[in-house]
Amino acid sequence: MATDARAGSRVVPAVAAALAVAYLLAVTLVPILLAPLTIAAVLAACAIVLTRRRSRALVLFMAAIGAWLASALAVAWILQGEPRGGLLWVVGGLFVLPLPLVPWLYSRSFSPSPEPRAPSPGPGGGPA
């Protein structure tokens, strides 16, 4: 766990900084990159839970959410000029489909007493 904690303490700022820089560059230079960036940012936010508790099921759930979001955004991109098809996909694929599934995934992943992370030393050596 201590190794995990040390790795997490490097991963969190590295991922956050990369996403922040990528967003600022994408919106000013390459707006099309906002689509993959959206998927990455949403997944990264969900994955914050992995800094507290880690399980194979949680990782699989994150992968499932990432796959769904990538597919949904790709189809929306294809249907951007399609009346009817575009609106129906956005409502059906991005809203209605995950409506019951994501809360169910959370319920399945819930751990009533998450194992606390092993403390890593703070800047002054205190508990982090």
């Binding site: 303490s9 969190v12 700022p13 956050a16 900084a17 996403l19 922040a20 820089v21 967003y23 600022l24 919106v27 000013t28 707006p31 099309i32 906002l34 689509a35 960036l37 959206t38 940012a41 949403v42 936010a45 969900c46 914050i48 839970v49 959410i65 955004l73 929306a76 249907l79 951007q80 399609e82 009346p83 009817r84 098809g85 575009g86 609106l87 996909w89 956005v90 409502v91 809203f95 995950p98 409506l99 599934l101 994501v102 809360p103 169910w104 959370y106 319920s107 992943s109 819930f110 009533p112 998450p114 403390p119 890593s120 703070g122 800047p123 002054g124 050596g125 205190g126 508990p127 982090a128």
Partner: protein, 473 residues
């Protein structure tokens, strides 16, 4: 006028009930921390869904079509996301350290300076967001109730201030839950009736397909980059809205989190039906020549008038419920920041319930004054308020709580950077590229500042002892 009078009478009764039960700071600011997932989920959704959804949303659909939906498309994700990313940690800290509010949590983790800055951010954001509700009440009064906008705004916010000031969140949570039930039922009924009036979903789509096909593409008339930025802003932004985070402090136990996303998501989906239903039907009715509006915000009232007096009454009650439940949270959060967080951060005695009541009234008056003066549409005011909290608080609640090496100086610098960047970019919003949302850009800059300052602070501090209470997680 009758509706407003009944509203004030109900608020007075609720204020009396709440005042008898709010005996401690925990009662007043965190509803006694005794609520379960159902109550918190429905009340939390009512607080989250504001007049922005009932009035601004359908109006935005009229302008942007399917593009407007990207603001709400992340709703199925956000309940679980909130719990995974911040909720579990917040509930654990609230119960372990007796923390009552989001700003107090920031102080517990990052020290008194961060608590003071967070309090200022929350006060400014809550007054601005409360102004959105006052503005919506003004629109509702002018277009539906037939009373001057300023009178409607003052009455709605005064009624909310009355029960919030007297009973705090003991009264507020109960009121929010009742309002949430009313909003969900009204949203489904009104959306269905509006679609039926437009000839059913197939006829409405066919009408729009002929008259305004640009509204029906996957991104509507909005550039894809802006639609994606809205999705991201309103998805990640839920992790930084104090009125969203506030509900985690009301839970009686961490176990309640298991069912919370399902309750939040179900209630939210029901309430958001009005955005699509009234927006789609209203746009189709205008295309059919059966309806005309001068401004997008007039769409919902115009559709309701077409449906008949029952719909006008039901919509009026739903919008009042929506704006009052949201305003109640903002009033309570701002009062806590003014009377608990700022004094505590400055080393002064923390104010009690009486001070909280006075601060609630002060914030309510400020929200009405600001809301009745603004010329921006409700949807744009809502986006601006949401973006301010996202820019200032998202890095602290996500990276800050998850990364053990975040320091108090890093948190302070991030909140100030995010708030300043958001305000500066909002001032030039019309000149920004489509995907550059001030809230997201502010949060991105603030994240970089948080990491940089924390790393530098840690290195400069060397063997310095951490600030008291600043290293809890």
């Amino acid at each position: 006028m009758t509706v407003l009078a009944v509203l004030l009478a109900l608020a007075a009764a609720l204020a009396w009930w709440g005042a008898r039960r709010a005996r401690s700071a925990s009662d007043y600011f965190a509803a006694g921390q005794r609520a379960g997932a159902w109550l918190v989920g429905i009340a939390g959704t009512a607080a989250a869904v504001s007049a922005f959804t009932f009035v601004g949303g359908p109006g935005l659909f009229l302008v942007a079509g399917a593009g407007s939906l990207w603001i709400i498309l992340s709703a199925p994700l956000t309940g679980a996301l909130q719990c995974w990313a911040v909720g579990e940690r917040v509930v654990e800290m609230a119960h372990r350290h007796g923390v009552l509010t989001p700003t107090e949590l920031i102080g517990t983790r990052f020290g008194p300076a961060a608590r003071a800055v967070a309090a200022l951010v929350v006060v400014a954001g809550c007054i601005a967001s409360g102004a959105v509700q006052a503005k919506a009440a003004a629109v509702l009064g002018e277009t539906v109730l037939g009373v001057p906008g300023a009178v409607a705004a003052a009455a709605a916010i005064l009624a909310t201030t009355l029960y919030t000031a007297a009973g705090g969140m003991r009264a507020g949570l109960l009121a929010d839950a009742v309002q949430g039930g009313v909003m969900a039922a009204a949203a489904l009924i009104l959306a269905g009736a509006a679609i039926a009036a437009a000839g059913g979903p197939v006829a409405a789509l066919a009408t729009l397909g002929r008259a305004r096909p640009e509204l029906l593409g996957a991104f509507g008339s909005v550039p894809p980059a802006r639609a994606l930025a809205w999705y991201l802003l309103f998805c990640l932004g839920t992790l930084a809205q104090p009125h969203y985070l506030q509900k985690f402090f009301f839970l009686r136990s961490p176990v309640e989190l298991r069912r919370l996303p399902a309750v939040l998501t179900g209630a939210l989906a029901a309430m958001l039906a009005v955005w699509l239903g009234v927006g789609l039907a209203g746009a189709a009715l205008i295309a059919q020549g059966r309806l005309a509006v001068a401004r997008p915000d007039e769409l919902t009232p115009a559709v309701m008038r077409l449906l008949g007096p029952w719909a006008v009454l039901l919509a009026g009650i739903a919008v009042l419920a929506a704006l009052m439940s949201t305003a109640a949270s903002f009033l309570n959060l701002a009062a806590a920041a003014l009377t608990r967080d700022l004094p505590a951060a400055l080393g002064r005695p923390v104010g009690g319930i009486t001070a909280g009541r006075a601060a609630t009234v002060l914030v309510g008056v400020g929200a009405v004054l600001l809301g009745t003066q603004s010329e921006r549409t409700i949807a744009l005011l809502g986006v601006a308020g949401w973006g301010f909290f996202t820019a200032a608080l998202l890095p602290v609640f996500t990276v800050g709580l998850a990364w053990p090496r975040t320091t108090g100086a890093g948190a302070v610098a991030a909140m100030l950077t995010g708030a300043a960047a958001d305000l500066a970019l909002e001032a030039i919003r019309s000149q920004l590229p489509p995907g550059l949302e001030p809230g997201l850009a502010g949060a991105a800059l603030a994240t970089l500042v948080l990491i940089l300052v924390s790393v530098l602070d840690s290195r400069l501090a060397g063997a310095r002892t951490p600030e008291p209470g600043a290293r809890l997680s």
